[in-house]
Structure formats: C-alpha cells, structure tokens
C-alpha cells in the first residue's frame, strides 16, 4: 500500500486563523480524499481532491471554508479557514488504490 505522510501531526490554533494541512504520497495516485473526525465520532468525507481541477465537496462542506489543492498526483493540501472551536477535529488524508482506501496518520487540530 502507499505510504502517506501527513503534516502537521497536531496543532493548536487561535480562533479566526487558518491552518493548511499537507498530504504527501510516495506514489502517484488518482484518488485522494480528505476526511474529518470530530471528537468521539466516526469519519465523514469532506471532499475528493481532483488533480488539475476543483475539489468535489460533500454536502455540508464548502470551498470557502475548506479550500483544497491538488497540484499533482502525489500531493494535496487542505486548509481549514477562519477557524472556530467547532473545527477542532482530526483531519485525515486518504488515498485509493485497487479499490481500498488507505489513510494518513491524521492531523489533530485544536482551536481555542
């Protein structure tokens, strides 16, 4: 399976600021995804990161709040904008290979 590196692993941020999370894969992958895991909850898909075009967002998630970049087939970023305490979650990058999904180690975000 692909090796997925995600950083930062954790961060504590102030309300109103933005944080960019990076996801690097050791091989080219067509499909990359961003998930959110709120405290004590399971995972919810935020968006599909499409290479060379805009990301495809799930219901309840918007580009202004969660802008995503996908400049090539091995890298993507997710930005959490204008953060509030409700954004405190684990954010996970995921890649698809042979119709299995593999996850990065996640970014633990706390917003004060």
């Amino acid at each position: 399976s692909a090796v997925i590196s995600q950083k930062p692993s954790r961060d504590i941020c102030q309300r109103g600021t933005s944080l960019t999370i990076q996801c690097q894969v050791d091989s080219q992958v067509t499909m990359m995804f961003w998930y959110r895991q709120q405290p004590g909850q399971s995972l919810t898909l935020i968006a599909t990161a499409n290479q060379g075009s805009e990301a495809t967002y799930e219901s309840g998630f918007v580009i202004d709040k969660f802008p995503i970049s996908r400049p090539n087939l091995t890298f993507s970023t997710l930005t959490v904008s204008n953060m509030s305490p409700e954004d405190s979650s684990i954010y996970l990058c995921s890649v698809g290979q042979r119709e299995k999904l593999f996850f990065g180690s996640g970014t633990q975000l706390s917003v004060l």
């Binding site: 399971s42 995972l43 898909l45 599909t48 495809t56 698809g96 119709e99 299995k100 999904l101 593999f102």
Partner: protein, 120 residues
C-alpha cells in the same frame, strides 16, 4: 443513502481469546465493498480487512475474519487469539463499487465504532 450501524459501543476480551464485533448496514446497492478499520490511540486508521459483496466467500486476514451475510446485511469481524495490540477503536465501513467516471469511489460511510479492549 447508505447507513452503517455498530450496536456495540464497547467490547472487552481476554488475551488469546476470540471476540466478534457486529456491524449491520443498509443499502439499495448491489455492488459494494465492506471494510473493517482499526484506529488505535495513535489515531492512524489501519485497514484490517475488506469484503467484496459479489464474493460469497468470507474474507480472512491472518487472525481476522469476517462473517458476511449479504441478505441479512450483516458484516461481523472475528478476531482470534486476541493480542494486547488489538486494543483500538474498530470501524465498519461501506463503499459503493467503483464505476468508471463515477463519483462514489472513495466515499466511505462509517459506523459509529466499537472500542475493543484486550485485557492481559
């Protein structure tokens, strides 16, 4: 829309014993995958096992096996010879099977999770 239900919030088992985690799902799809993921305190999501809905044979990965009952929409995970390192949150998840040009690939629908504790 798909739903996945894990009715056991917490389970515990003694080391070396066997434990079964339950999962049921609801879907109108016929072609899909079911997964079990493990999330230890490190928060890494680790793929444990995958079942393809069109295969009748239950998937097995070393100490992990599933009991897939398609008609009943049931997908349980059996862990044999439990080890302390198996202590984690376990998530059951559903994914529609990829179609060329489809947008559903990668959208996992997760259950609420089951916390498994293995005691020495």
């Amino acid at each position: 829309a798909q739903t996945v239900t894990q009715s056991q919030p917490e389970m515990s088992v003694q080391e070396a014993e066997t434990v079964t985690l339950s999962c049921t799902y609801d879907t109108s799809e016929n072609n899909y995958y079911l997964f079990w993921y493990k999330q230890p305190p490190s928060r890494q999501m680790i793929l444990v096992i995958r079942q393809e809905a069109y295969k009748q044979q239950n998937a097995t990965e070393n100490r992990f096996s599933v009991n897939f009952q398609k008609a009943a929409k049931s997908f349980s995970l059996k862990i044999s010879d439990s080890q302390l390192g198996d202590t984690a949150m376990y998530f059951c998840a559903f994914m529609k099977r990829h179609n060329a040009g489809g947008t559903s690939y990668g959208k996992l629908t997760f259950g609420q999770g089951t916390i498994l504790t293995v005691h020495p």
